[in-house]
Symmetry: C2
Subunit: 314 residues, 2 copies
């Protein structure tokens, strides 16, 4: 696989045909397995670690690159989300290659003149759950419990948008495995729950967070940080590490750990969206740590919203 | 196929295995096609017409029989919904046979002690959108426009329940075609929209209403009608036929047609839930018929809620 050029596919039917014909080949007695790495592009080492993991799991690897308007509200950063398809293809080739790259133009255009995408930022009106998809599309998947807390509070259309586009990708690409980074912890749990509840025949793999040398969790949005903001943003990882250490040594209450995280990030110049300690499966807040939990943080540095988390397995 | 016994499958993994191994066979150059007829059992001639249509479309036919608690509210008739699996299997065999019958026990039990089904009727509390599925399941598919009108007004959990269970069945059975009766017109349109919006690779076929000799639309619920109620219920078909005739001859306004239907059913002793004239694709009410519409009716006779409709293609 390493030396082969990835097939770049933009058409939905062509993608499904590629998947079926690659998996089911006349000469082979059993179908090949296919792993999908869904991304929004602007790939970094975190994505590439998912790709390597995918190669170890399945015979075939497909990466999708699609900035999904369905998960952005009109006031969010869809219009400035970074992209670089040529760079992404080069990075994938350098990392050993994949079999197919699916980069559809618009997954919400059904040919009826709808499927327009709103690229308003800063000025969109608030009318409840509105995403940047307008027009004909009207089907949304809601994972009603898990979608509500953490990022769901400040981003009310986010998880329905993620669940819906992932379902679309599963139905188009028909993978046996799909890989998600645990940096987007709630997203990973939402997808696991959707797969279970809708009986998708896809095994979901959550992969560990990949960090820069100084501890900053890798994110396509990091490119928007000024050098000063980037320095300040290290407070997220530092405060999470301290809280994790304290928790593992039973030194602090949850309430106090959250306060220390908030204090530390705020003092560094960040603006906290939330800092929560929640059960790993249900994402329900806990007061006392008696089972595996995860500390989740979202904070703004300048115009950039960053998220990070650490699991505590005690 | 006619002489062969259908394979009766209750297990989800076994169903998917059957589908894949039947479709993809080593000796055949192209995969076989599979048509699914999703039903809630207690089969009648309407279902059997779907099965015959399925056989004409695909190499393999599967029928699912599952009374879906997700589409019933606690105040509805889940506990009295008729069922007769042995009779259904006999009817399918007599009608020429199918390849597989999928009759799962509980599609909402994920092994975590949840997935309980509430079989309350008459006394369930109202707390918004609550179905008879309790416990772990939390993912629902909403077709946000089409689910709202007509039956959606008096049955707020119905279409999310239907869309969700049909998605589950598609993911388990992996059919190439799925057949739905147009008696459940709004359901058919909701499924078509979901399939388009979520990119399911399933072609949806809507099949014409099958009626008793006297015009009553076939329904598993007809068995609950007393002879008197059954006689009165003929007013639905009669008033729809009259309205259709009037519309095709341009004799009446929509407003007046609806009034005549309501009057006729009410005089016969029925209790109207709704009578509407709507666009066929969008199900939006129309005042004047300038494109294909459908007249939809729901009415109670005793404790039985019946629905019926007629398309007007002018």
């Amino acid at each position: 696989m390493a030396s082969k050029e990835a097939e770049v596919i933009t058409d939905i039917a062509a993608m499904r045909n590629w998947s079926r014909s690659s998996k089911y080949q006349q000469q082979s007695p059993t179908p090949k397995t296919l792993a999908l790495v869904p991304t929004m592009g602007f790939l970094h080492a975190g994505h590439l670690s998912l790709v390597r993991r995918a190669r170890s799991l399945a015979d075939l690897v497909a990466v999708s690159i699609y900035v999904n308007p369905g998960q952005f509200s009109p006031t969010e950063d869809l219009s400035t989300y970074p992209s670089d398809l040529a760079g992404d293809l080069r990075k994938l080739a350098d990392a050993g290659g994949v079999d197919a790259v699916f980069c559809p133009r618009n997954l919400y255009d059904y040919g009826g003149g709808g499927g327009k995408v709103r690229r308003v930022d800063g000025g969109g009106e608030e009318r409840g759950a509105v995403s940047c998809v307008e027009g004909e599309h009207e089907t949304w998947i809601r994972v009603e419990g898990l979608e509500k807390g953490l990022c769901g509070r400040s981003r009310p259309v986010f998880f329905r948008g993620v669940a819906t586009v992932v379902a679309k990708l599963f139905n188009i690409v028909e993978p046996d495995f799909a890989l998600f980074g645990k940096k987007d912890y709630q997203q990973w749990r939402v997808i696991c729950r959707m797969v279970r509840d809708l009986n998708f025949s896809v095994e979901i793999i959550g992969s560990e967070i990949v960090r820069e040398v100084d501890g900053l969790a890798m994110s396509s949005r990091n490119v928007h940080l000024s050098p000063e903001e980037r320095e300040k943003a290290l407070s997220i990882n530092k405060s999470l590490s301290k809280a994790k250490f304290a928790a593992e040594n039973g030194q602090e209450t949850c309430q106090r750990m959250k306060l220390l995280i908030i204090q530390s990030i705020t003092e560094a110049g960040g603006r906290i969206d939330y800092a929560e300690i929640v059960e790993q499966e249900t994402l329900k807040p806990v007061e006392v740590i008696t089972s595996p939990v995860v500390i989740c943080v979202a904070a703004w540095f300048g115009n950039v919203r960053l998220i990070d988390n650490m699991e505590i397995n005690i």
